[in-house]
Amino acid sequence: MGVHLRMTALLLVAGFGLRVAAAQAQAPSPKAGGGAPTSSATPADDQAASELKEHHRHHHHGGVTKFIAMSLDTLGVDDAKRPQLEKLQSDLHAQMAPAREAEKDVLRVLAEGVAAGTVDKAKVDAAIAKLTTAADAVHAASLETLNKLHAILSPAERAALVDKVEAHWEVWRQVNHEEAPGGRERGGRLAKLTEEVSLTPDQVTKISAALKTALAGHPVKLDSQKGEAHVHAFAAAFAGDSFDAKSVTSSANGDLASRGATRMALFYETVTPLLTPEQRTKLAEELQEHASYQPAPSGK
């Protein structure tokens, strides 16, 4: 093929490439995403997203039932319905209380280990086992409350609640499963730690490498299909006109609590030896703060 012909063919390929790229840039997004705040995000959005992710990184005790309770924080029901909704949200929190107490123990053991410079893995594993057992019992304990919740909500409110449960699940899955271990992206776990305890660039490099190794070699992996199945079963059933919580038989609450807490523990076990005593003190305080978390019913 001659020189002119080759150049023209190259132009043609480049032209089509540019068109495809332009078309993709213009295409509307098919669904809501769970990633970092977009260019449409305001500073308030950034803050809300960052706080939500931080919450989901540290609180796993109720699994999908916790996502349901959290969804009531912003459901936006009218004032007449609000007292009933607050009561039901309070009931859900009470039904999750044993699991929440078990999670507090996990966080306290981690905080003590971080402060001391070494996390006691055996103690952490024992605390996570108790958390898993308690979280497993949450679904059965909350059946009646979920039925009452369905009964007081309008179809539009039920659809909105399902959207919110799915949104919480997506964010939880992103920060506890999909986020690359040791990744340095904005809004990621390492970026948050850098901000919390003022890591030096050298520490960031070392911690990033250590986290990649630790999580790659860890035998416990999240089976996100269990969580997916629970969320989808709840969503399909709850959006309907009639609902019986007993029909949602695929509970992933124990699994989510166990996997989330295990990944959280592995993070603190890995970073602790690479921090200075001052940084460990600061980080231990943050963990104690998470351990003292007590949800207040908002029912908005």
Partner: protein, 113 residues
């Protein structure tokens, strides 16, 4: 008819010249055709999950609407896709004028206790 007596190069035989002209034409047409597409398409950004999880919606026309990226968005009835109001409905415009958008900040729950 050729203007010079220079011998034809391999790429300049009549067949290749026709092909070259056609390909050039295709590139030009392709570029021209893309211009109106670019001008007519609006980039829509739907509310991401972290936004749905932390923002309070407004109920209008039987669904929860979220103000995000200077537009109101809602899920269609079968919950398969997000939709955007091209024109802001009066009810939602009035709502937005009278009330601040409500968000939930989860870490502040610790401070509220």
């Amino acid at each position: 008819m050729r203007a010079t007596n220079r011998p034809l190069r391999e790429s300049e035989d009549p067949m290749n010249r026709s092909l070259l002209t056609m390909l050039t034409g295709a590139v030009v047409v392709s570029c021209l055709a893309s211009t109106p597409v670019r001008a007519g398409v609006e980039i829509r950004v739907f509310p991401p999950s972290w936004y749905i999880a932390t923002a309070r919606p407004v109920y209008y026309e039987g669904h929860a609407s979220y103000w995000y990226g200077d537009r109101w968005h809602y899920r269609d009835r079968d919950r398969r896709a997000w939709r955007t109001y091209r024109e802001e409905p009066r009810y939602l415009r009035e709502y937005r004028r009278n009330r601040e958008p409500e968000r939930h900040y989860y870490e502040r729950e610790h401070e509220r206790r």
